[in-house]
Amino acid sequence: MSTPPQNSLVNRVDPTQGSAFSRKMRSLGSYLRQHWVLYLMLVPGLFFLFIYKLLPLWGLQIAFKNYKIFAAETPWKAITASQWVGLRHFKKLFASSQFAKVLRNTLAINFLKILWLFPIPILCAILLNEIRNAFYRKLCQTMIYVPYFFSWVLIFGIFYSLLGSYGIINLLITSLGGERINFFGDQGIFRSVLIFTEGWKEVGYNTVIYLAAITGIDVTLYEAAKVDGANKFHQIWSITLPGLLPTIVLMLILKVGYILTTGFEQVLVFYSPPVYDVADIIETYVYRIGLGQADFSLATALGLFNAVVAFILIVGANTVSKKTLGRSIW
């Protein structure tokens, strides 16, 4: 870059003239002339990026405004036309019991999911690896992986068929003389339904990730351990688990990083008013007050709060992962 190409036309005219800056500009110019196609390629992506990802950020200002949809000819123009109110919506939000509730629910549901579900795929991967019969191993893996490709609506339909008021489980309970259980409407049970269905969908996918990591472990380590008299438990404890550790840590960091932003579509599909107290999470609440009750400013304020905290968590998670494991998501 610093040495100008001798055969370039520009430099042949006067190779000594011009400051470092203008030389740099000339070399940039020749780069652009040579590679303009690359810039053209970026255009469609940048178009989508600006319109659909960055333009909404302009709309975030209504979190600090008293947004009136009819303040101008169009709802979009009304954004600029509305009055600034400073932090009023945030104060209102942080003082409300609803905010505390949805924050608590978000953290509780996602924390319980990590607590109950995080170890399962690790166990599955280790156990699958112990199944000698290749066909049977593949069969089990294929079956537990299937639900990952189902949408939440489809999963809701499947579990509705099992757990609904007239689902097979309740028909069994009533035929045995028991009381119907309202799995989707009982506050004491609903979170368990969320956790179980999350596991049903995700365990297979995560198992595949850990299986890939197990494949990377050096087989000779096991051979050596066997010679030294290590039994299977020792081998799993001192070879497989340490080999999986970087992946385990990475997955855990990511899970914590995304603790505020996961589970939205699942809750949206599964919940109903009777369980709002235990199931309403930040994003479902934003959706309901924003597009349901048309309280745009308050919803945007909560959305912005969520976005900022989530941003800090995700960037933090990525930094921790980069520092400790040398691996990052970007």
Binding site: S151, Y166, E265
Partner: protein, 308 residues
């Protein structure tokens, strides 16, 4: 060869036997937990109404009938919803894959000027989401509410998928590209003739990720689309499940015996059966594509998804 003799020669010790046995038992249970609910819904969808209502259909159909399936297919909006989902998924995936490739390629060139700034924009937009309300306002402002475009364009580029392709491109050997350039090929030719053919596995993976995204999405299709004729399969299915339950509950509360049989229709058509049939019909496309999906996604998880 020596290894083989050795592993055959040494008998499995107790710990190994235990772990292997435990593995077979537990993994069988897990596989059954994954598959039995699907089998139940599928069985229910083609079982006779009285068997369904009495709770005697478990994992195999009883009193085989196809009337419920016919009802779903011809008396409801199923085909319209299927058509909408197919349009959104195919057009959306095509746009997404092309745009992701053309974005990933320049950003994968270390010498590309402006690379850092543009990459940073994509990373930032990936980790900072402005929220549902402003996103909705943009779609509304553009006047594309209630169109296919509203279900496609805002999600045309998933940054994470684009980065998977970019990471893969970065790992390709420079030499092949260079020799093509010496032969006079420009950037576009190098991308379409050399880079893309060398990257088919990762492109297949990302194509599937996008297709699954579009196909499975419920929220966006629900939020941006109002008219019945524009509903996608997921929205259709959700509405059907919810109306199916109220349908049955209304019948039950109206002095109905609770056997779940609609009097105006064939005895085989029950609310439970209707839900089960719609769910089963929605599972079929996924099961048909599953071998393909599994092949590329298992591979895909290991390529480029996380920067090494």
């Amino acid at each position: 060869m020596a290894k083989k003799v050795k592993s055959k020669g040494i008998a499995m010790d107790a710990s190994e036997k235990f772990v292997t046995g435990f593995a077979y038992v537990l993994m069988t249970i897990f596989a059954l937990i994954a598959i039995l609910p699907c089998l139940h819904v599928a069985s229910k969808s083609i079982s006779g109404g009285t068997y369904v209502a009495s709770g005697s259909v478990w994992f195999w159909p009883r009193g085989f009938q196809l009337e419920t399936m016919e009802y779903i297919l011809f008396e409801t909006q199923f085909f319209q919803a299927l058509k909408n989902s197919l349009i959104v998924t195919s057009v959306g995936t095509l746009i997404s894959v092309i745009v992701s490739i053309t974005t990933a390629y320049p950003l994968s060139k270390p010498s590309f000027k402006g690379r850092k700034v543009v990459t940073l924009l994509y990373v930032f937009s990936m980790v900072f989401f402005g929220g549902i309300v402003p996103a909705y306002m943009v779609v509304q402002m553009l006047g594309i509410l209630d169109t296919y475009a509203a279900m496609i364009l805002p999600f045309a580029i998933v940054q994470f998928n684009m980065f998977i392709i970019k990471n893969y491109f970065e790992g390709l050997p420079e030499t092949v590209e260079e020799s093509a350039r010496i032969d006079g090929a420009g950037d576009f030719t190098v991308l379409t003739r050399i880079v893309i053919p060398m990257s088919t596995p990762v492109i297949a993976t990302v194509t599937l990720l996008y297709a699954i995204n579009y196909w499975n999405n419920y929220f966006h299709a629900m939020m941006y689309v109002q008219s019945t004729s524009m509903k996608t399969l997921q929205v259709y299915l959700y509405d059907l499940i919810n109306s199916g339950s109220s349908f049955l509950e209304n019948l039950a509360s109206g002095g109905y015996t609770g056997e779940g049989v609609h009097t105006g229709l064939s005895v085989n058509i029950t609310a439970e059966g209707i839900t089960a049939s719609a769910v089963t019909l929605s599972i079929i496309p996924i099961v048909l594509l599953y071998p393909l999906v599994q092949r590329f996604l298992i591979k895909g998880i290991t390529i480029g998804s996380v920067k090494g």
